[in-house]
């Protein structure tokens, strides 16, 4: 029972942190109304970008995980305070408006809440066996147990001679280890319950925004859209589809690519069709690009490819060359991560886990 309460608290904590961090950006947008869902989405990517910035130097200095945990906790506390000071007035208005929205659209809110709960329970209460968990959960377990960052092989537990560059920037699982250290939860519980619920909520958030964008804020249509989108998820199942990843491998970083990042790129594309100069949309794409690298190494090829698929039509429709320039610029972090990996594979450099 205590574990269940801890898990629920951890899920709420995560979403709140994303909201608070995201508000630091969305709260500064003068031309746009403050949005809770947009703050959560923005905050999620900002969270992982900041985490990577802190994590990489500590990894390169071979410092222990607990040091990273303390520094990260300190940074989070500082950011929460700063965001509180900056956004308190906005939040007050937002929560008042949200209360009014809930009151006005109670059936929709109840439907959405119940639907998220049902999907979460179905996914979380199911046994999930995947070979990749040996890496994703294994990294969190190994890092936590050895109080180190990526120095030991998650598959075997043996000391590694050098850092595996394929996963060097991909610190999603290290964040799991840090949060386990701070909360005392076992990595299996953190990844396969807490983060699963978080990913499900994030995926619903993006679908909600997508529905509203497609159907001009019509909540009935948005509700049906979300329902069918999730329904499709449960029926589009071969071991390769993003739907299957969402249901059976929810805790993996690449699931977030398929269920949050790619629908988000479509959403931003729809917004850019309305106004292709919207600077927030481009900023969001940059955050997604940077954040995706932390989530999964697959983003290196997937994000630029997805961006190209949507931005080429945008360029042809709007005939503004700046679209191509901005697309290239936001894709750059992903492409750089791919180049670094290729250089490593070709043997141009190695980062050892002990100075030589």
């Amino acid at each position: 029972m205590l574990t269940a309460i801890g898990c629920v608290a951890a899920v709420v904590f995560n979403i709140l942190i994303y909201f608070i961090l995201g508000s630091m950006i969305t709260g500064r947008l003068k031309e746009r109304r403050f949005s809770g869902t947009l703050s959560v989405i923005t905050g999620f990517f900002l969270y992982y970008i900041l985490f990577d910035i802190v994590c990489i130097p500590i990894t390169l200095l071979y410092r222990p995980l607990h040091l990273l945990a303390y520094i990260w906790a300190g940074i989070l506390i500082a950011l929460i305070i700063i965001s509180f000071i900056l956004n308190f007035k906005k939040w007050r208005v937002f929560f008042t408006e949200t209360a009014a929205f809930v009151k006005e659209h109670l059936p929709f809110v109840v439907f959405l809440g119940a639907f998220i709960l049902i999907v979460s329970v179905v996914i979380i209460y199911c046994y999930q066996f995947t070979l990749d968990a040996a890496y994703y959960v294994g990294t969190a377990s190994t890092s936590l147990f050895t109080d180190s960052i990526k120095i030991y092989d998650p598959y075997t537990g043996m000391w590694q001679d050098h850092f595996e560059m394929r996963y060097f920037f991909n610190n999603y699982a290290v964040n799991d280890a840090v949060m386990c250290y701070l909360t005392g939860l076992h990595p299996l519980i953190w990844t396969k319950t807490v983060m699963e619920a978080v990913v499900i909520i994030l995926s619903f958030t993006v679908l909600y925004r997508l529905g509203r964008a497609l159907f001009k804020e019509d909540l009935l249509k948005t509700g049906i859209f979300i329902f069918f989108s999730m329904f499709l998820c449960f029926f589009y199942s071969t071991i390769y589809t993003s739907s299957e990843f969402f249901i059976t491998r929810t805790y993996e970083g690449k699931t977030i690519l398929g269920s949050v990042v790619l629908p988000l790129i479509l959403l931003v594309y729809i917004k850019l069709l309305e106004d292709h100069r919207d600077s927030f949309c481009w900023l969001l794409l940059l955050l997604v690009s940077l954040g995706s690298i932390v989530l999964s190494n697959s983003s290196g090829m997937l994000f630029p490819a997805a961006l190209f698929v949507f931005m080429l039509p945008l360029f042809l429709i709007k005939r503004d060359p700046l679209i191509l320039v901005k697309s290239a610029a936001v894709s750059l972090p992903c492409l750089i991560s791919v180049v670094i990996y290729i250089l490593y594979v070709k043997g141009y450099f190695v980062l050892y886990t002990m100075p030589r």
Binding site: P64, G138, L188, L257
Partner: protein, 293 residues
């Protein structure tokens, strides 16, 4: 996608990839039909949102030459399917359903009937994730209770801080998620490559020599020379062997001198007395940290 390769399948790779990706689902076909409908009768907005990006997809991700080009930069044999995730099936099909259902908005009864009809069509065109049964988790860790039992038995029967083990495939993949103090004699890739009879060059074969001997017995139930097997256990510092109760190797393992530690629901845990056990510990970085500052 273990069974197809860009080099082996050439231009057919993409079609095989799409076929494996979709399995028995017809959502991609429905997606294409909807795109044709949008091209003929769709609004300008829907053409922009769904049709134009799909045309770009057709010339890139769905272009049979595309995997061939990408494969020159890096190996995408096993991961090309992730490019198919870009296809906005997850948005177009539900969005089309919404438009179709809400056309009947004036009559609630008709709307519900159409809703149910669309639901049935969607269900019929796909395959349900839990079609083979819903397997509830056994505990909060979402691993079989047996994994916890095996971990406890190993911990209770060793004086090592980090005992090394080799196990059957599924146990091998899950044990360290729960108990990272147990080390494994081989990593996931080695294990899967061995099971899949993947090609090994001379250097890799030499590096994996001892692990391959262990896997021959544990994963392929081969009865290799007993001394050769014991040498592999000693060289890899492997103290525990976990196999399924149904494994034909149990008799062989006991003949090799391994002793029973215990059994769980479907597993047998055996222990080997290492000739020269190595008491592994974590690497000490304190001197490096002192030097740094």
């Amino acid at each position: 996608m273990q069974y197809i390769s860009v080099t082996g399948d050439g231009l057919l790779y993409l079609f095989k990839c799409i076929s494996l990706y979709n399995g028995s689902s017809f959502y991609l076909l429905l997606y294409v039909l909807l795109l044709i409908y949008i091209a003929l009768k769709g609004s300008r907005e829907w053409k922009r949102i769904f049709l134009y990006p799909s045309i770009v997809l057709l010339f890139t991700v769905y272009n049979p030459f595309f995997p061939l080009i990408i494969d020159r930069i890096f190996d995408i044999n096993k991961e090309y399917y992730r490019f198919l995730w870009i296809t906005p099936i997850y948005a177009l099909l539900p969005a089309a359903a919404v438009v179709y259902i809400t056309k009947e908005r004036k009559s609630v009864g008709r709307m519900i009937a159409v809703f149910a009809g669309v639901l049935l069509i969607f269900a019929g065109l796909g395959s349900f994730t839990y079609a083979n049964g819903y397997q509830p988790r056994q505990n909060a860790y979402k691993i079989p209770d047996e994994v916890i039992a095996v971990s406890r038995m190993i911990r209770n029967n060793t004086d090592m801080k980090f005992p090394v083990a080799i196990m059957d495939r599924d146990m091998h993949m899950e044990i360290r998620q729960y108990d990272p103090s147990i080390l494994l004699a081989c990593d996931r890739t080695q294990y899967l490559d061995f099971l899949g009879d993947a090609y090994e060059d001379a250097l890799t074969a030499e590096k994996n020599e001892y692990v391959n001997r262990l896997l021959s017995v544990v994963a392929k139930y081969e009865e290799i020379d007993e001394d050769s097997f014991k040498e592999a256990l000693d060289k890899t510092n492997t103290q525990f062997v976990v196999v399924e109760k149904t494994s034909p190797s149990i008799r062989y393992l006991t003949d090799c001198g391994l002793s029973y530690v215990g059994t769980t629901g479907t597993r047998v845990i055996l222990k080997y007395d290492l000739k020269e056990p190595q008491y592994l510990d974590l690497a000490d970085y304190s001197a490096i940290w002192e030097e740094q500052f």
